[in-house]
């Protein structure tokens, strides 16, 4: 209870801080943006928010931070150049235990199941009960270091990525100091979470490069197994440590661990038998089959003929219902056919001269667009300063036309951030608003940004939340790793501060009806990199959402809009479809819907689809009530 009271106080203090700082310290890009000039602090940073509300926050669990430095390392200020130089280091000197790890305790990705959210960390994972999203409760936290702790859930199994050389099979915190060790673990761990208060590691699937991220893939034709696509970006370990691992170029070793992803098969009834079943050559040249088939430019530089070039994926998002996956694979965005999950096949690839590093991907709900993010600077550096170009470290939006990628536009969180805030495009998810493509996205210390990309050439921001830097003078790693919508709320994993929960508020960009329609979508489980097709019910909030959109775009005659509203209102007044006068009301709902279908014939662009969807929703509602 105490922590709740503290949070309330904290909110009012913060509002005050925002109000006081409001017009004072603005500069650069948009002088009116309230995100500019926020006060720094770990627990008392200034906050700016628009069209969304922070409804709850919890700090990191015990055991998941350095008690001496809860916010991470505060980096010492610049050393006085007039001081005499420090002596050269002694390579044999013992390490300085006073220096804790800044990244060692970082929070990372989120996964959801029922009333629980699982937060991954470089140090393990933590479970929160979110039965009441405004009052989340921390449940068990499990120590098992190795980073990044990218996390997914499927039934009673939880999956976690491990890439770092300190990772241990036994989850110990002590690390491993020898280059080759049987105790080292890099790959995908599997936990049984049947007892949420006592998760247990049941399998640890070793891979050559470890797992930076992973993605669960279900095969509609194979219910007994689950597949995991593991993406490794770290160095390939030696064959002495894990048999069969080779970092040689494909022309020297056709079994190289480079130029592939790991496909792990998990028998659901016996997860302990999970194993790597394929390392598909998704970078291969489609015509010749040559393993290193993309970006062969590296061959042309003198001395680089033997150079291994782009050969890995950072993250893969699958959309099984449309049979597609989008891979963000260092220098390329690639589109994969995953109808046979064990054997993904490349359909297309894109590159972009403004992109430093292809990091992650999100499809729209129709599977007709994909957003790739560019994690320029790796996420730990400031890349949203007023001096950083708006199309660098941004999102690139592509349309998918005939299973090919067609570039359309960029989106970057628009408020300039300071040198003390690590900021670049990072993880996000769709918000299920019918008739529009809307995404919420984490930008590290650039905060959370909600934007509409219905028009892929001109994305528009519709809501945001941001805090000031953790420290006023130094860059201390923090901010939102992920921000995802789950069953009516947005959850953000804050690297240093803990977890935050938000709700959307209506605005000129987004109506209450549209939010209500999104709230109707309920998932039993959510792994953001495994997208499922959202189907909206034939319900009133959905119809009203479409109507609001058509009114906003002037895609409906005012008179018709009034008729639609009247018909929906009347139908809402019915208790059952059998009562007196009900058939007249339902006939009217059908009749107006038929008129809308007629309007759709002459309508243009998005309005055509919205008119049809509105008509279908109204007819569906009438049919349900009858």
């Amino acid at each position: 209870m105490r922590s709740v009271a503290a949070t309330c106080l904290c909110v009012s203090a913060v509002m005050l801080a925002v109000a006081m700082e409001g017009g004072a310290q603005q500069r650069a890009a948009d002088p009116n943006d309230p995100r500019v000039g926020l006060k720094a602090g770990l627990r008392d940073a200034g906050e700016a928010t628009r069209n969304m509300k922070r409804i709850a926050s919890l700090p990191k669990p015990e055991g998941f931070f350095d008690p001496a430095k809860p916010g991470g390392d505060i980096i010492a200020p610049e050393r006085d150049p007039n001081l005499p130089p420090l002596p050269p280091p002694d390579p044999n000197a013992p390490p300085n235990p006073a220096q804790a790890n800044m990244l060692g305790f970082a929070n990372s990705d989120l996964a959801f199941s029922g009333n629980h959210v699982f937060m991954g960390s470089f140090h393990g994972f933590t479970t929160y009960d979110i039965e009441r999203p405004g009052k989340p409760k921390q449940s068990a936290s499990v120590v098992c270091p190795g980073g990044q702790g990218d996390i997914s859930v499927h039934g009673n199994l939880l999956f976690m990525s491990v890439e770092q050389t300190r990772g241990r099979i036994d989850c110990g915190v002590q690390g491993i100091s020898t280059p080759v060790s049987v105790e080292r673990f890099r790959g995908v761990r599997i936990f049984d979470i049947t007892d949420l208060n006592k998760p247990k590691q049941v399998a640890a699937v070793q891979t050559c490069r470890g797992s930076h991220t992973h993605t669960l893939v279900t095969d509609p034709n194979d219910k007994a197994n689950l597949y995991v696509y593991g993406s490794g970006t770290g160095g390939v370990r030696s064959g002495e440590e894990l048999a069969g691992c080779s970092a040689l170029d494909p022309d020297k070793d056709s079994n190289t661990a480079l130029f592939s992803i790991d496909v792990i098969q998990v028998p659901i009834a016996a997860p302990q038998n999970a194993k790597v079943v394929n390392r598909p050559r998704i970078f291969a040249d489609i015509a010749s089959g040559a393993i290193a088939g993309l970006n062969k430019g590296g061959d042309s530089g003198p001395g680089t003929q033997k150079m291994s070039v782009t050969n890995q994926c950072h993250d893969i998002t699958v959309f099984p219902e449309v049979g597609l996956a989008a891979g963000a694979c260092s220098g390329n965005g690639i589109l994969l056919d995953i109808r046979d999950p064990k054997n993904p096949k490349r359909l297309d690839h894109a590159s972009d001269k403004n992109f430093a590093y292809w990091h992650s991907a999100t499809f729209n709900n129709d599977g007709t667009k994909v957003i790739f993010t560019d994690e320029w600077g790796g996420g730990s550096r400031p890349r949203c300063r007023a001096t950083d170009l708006p199309n660098w470290g941004a999102d690139a939006i592509f349309d998918i036309v005939d299973r090919k990628l067609v570039f359309k536009g960029y989106y970057k969180m628009p408020a300039a951030q300071t040198e003390q805030e690590n900021c670049v495009a990072h993880n996000g998810s769709l918000i299920p608003i019918p008739g529009r493509d809307i995404m919420v996205q984490a930008w590290y210390q650039g905060g959370v940004s909600v934007f509409d990309f219905t028009d892929s050439t001109t994305p528009v921001e519709i809501a945001f939340f941001d805090r000031g830097p953790i420290d006023a003078k130094n860059l201390v790693l923090g901010g939102f790793w992920s921000a995802y919508w789950y069953n009516g709320n947005i959850y953000g994993s804050e690297i240093s501060r803990g977890i935050d929960v938000f709700s959307l508020t209506p605005s000129e960009y987004l109506s209450q009806n549209e939010i209500d329609a999104a709230m109707m979508i309920h998932a039993d489980e959510l792994n953001t990199q495994e997208q499922g097709k959202i189907v909206w019910p034939a319900a009133t909030p959905v119809a009203r959402a479409y109507l609001d959109q058509l009114t906003r775009s002037k895609g409906i005659q005012p008179e018709r809009a009034r008729a639609v509203k009247a018909a929906i209102d009347k139908a809402d007044g019915l208790r059952t479809g059998k009562e007196r006068g009900a058939s007249v009301v339902l006939d009217q709902l059908d009749a107006v819907a038929t008129q809308l279908e007629g309007d759709a014939v002459t309508a243009t662009g998005r309005d055509t689809a919205r008119l049809r969807s509105l008509a279908a929703t109204m007819k569906g509602r009438a049919a349900k009530l009858r």
Binding site: E62, G63, A76, P85, P89, P91, N92, P95, N96, P97, Q99, N101, G104, H123, G124, K137, S139, A140, S141, V142, V143, C144, P145, G147, E163, Q164, T165, R166, I169, C171, V173, G175, S177, P179, K198, P199, K200, Q201, A204, T233, G235, Q272, N295, G297, S300, G303, T304, S308, T310, S330, S351, K353, N354, A356, G377, G378, S380, R381, P382, W392
Partner: protein, 220 residues
Amino acid sequence: MASPIVVRYRIAVLLLIAAAGAACRTAAVADARPPLLQAGAPGQPSRAVGAMQASDLSQVQYTGADIKFMQGMIGHHAQAVEMVALVPSRSSVDDVRKLALRIDVSQKDEMNMMREWLQARSQQIPDPRAHHMMGTTLMPGMLTPEEMERLAAATGAEFDRLFLEGMIKHHAGAISMVAELFATAGAGQTPEIFSYASDVDADQRMEIDRMGSLLKELQK
């Protein structure tokens, strides 16, 4: 179908049960701290652990090799920054200029990060111009003073070619520094060094790709 009254009654009962359940759970949780567990090897149970023990990363520490890597990379990056500084006055190819700007922003910022890292650990911060001194051993892939002079003297297409070839070689050197780091006992274990070295490897490989393609385009 049940009458609405019965349905409502059922809902009320369910709500009561749910409320009572929630109250009990709240009461139970309010007293107890959430479990903090140390996971075990596959098949082994997790066990309760204290916060101090759980957060004890004292054995995962940076080593002399990590320090040397950071110090060496400062000088290495410094030369890349000197190379890109030549671009605006010598190249008119938009893609080359764009690439140079990106390398400039990224590597200057990474140099800051490496300086801060060394500073916070009371380690010597190398002079970024040290490689200009006579008899200095260059880090892998770095251009010799003669190569730098040749680059500075070139213009137009000749400059673009020398610049791209030189930077490809330079980046390849950084990648070999990462490989050497990870091959050293105990090195690259702390999450910061692991992440940074992995980023250097990934970013610079990708830039090599891009520069190779560019070189090919320019030779057409």
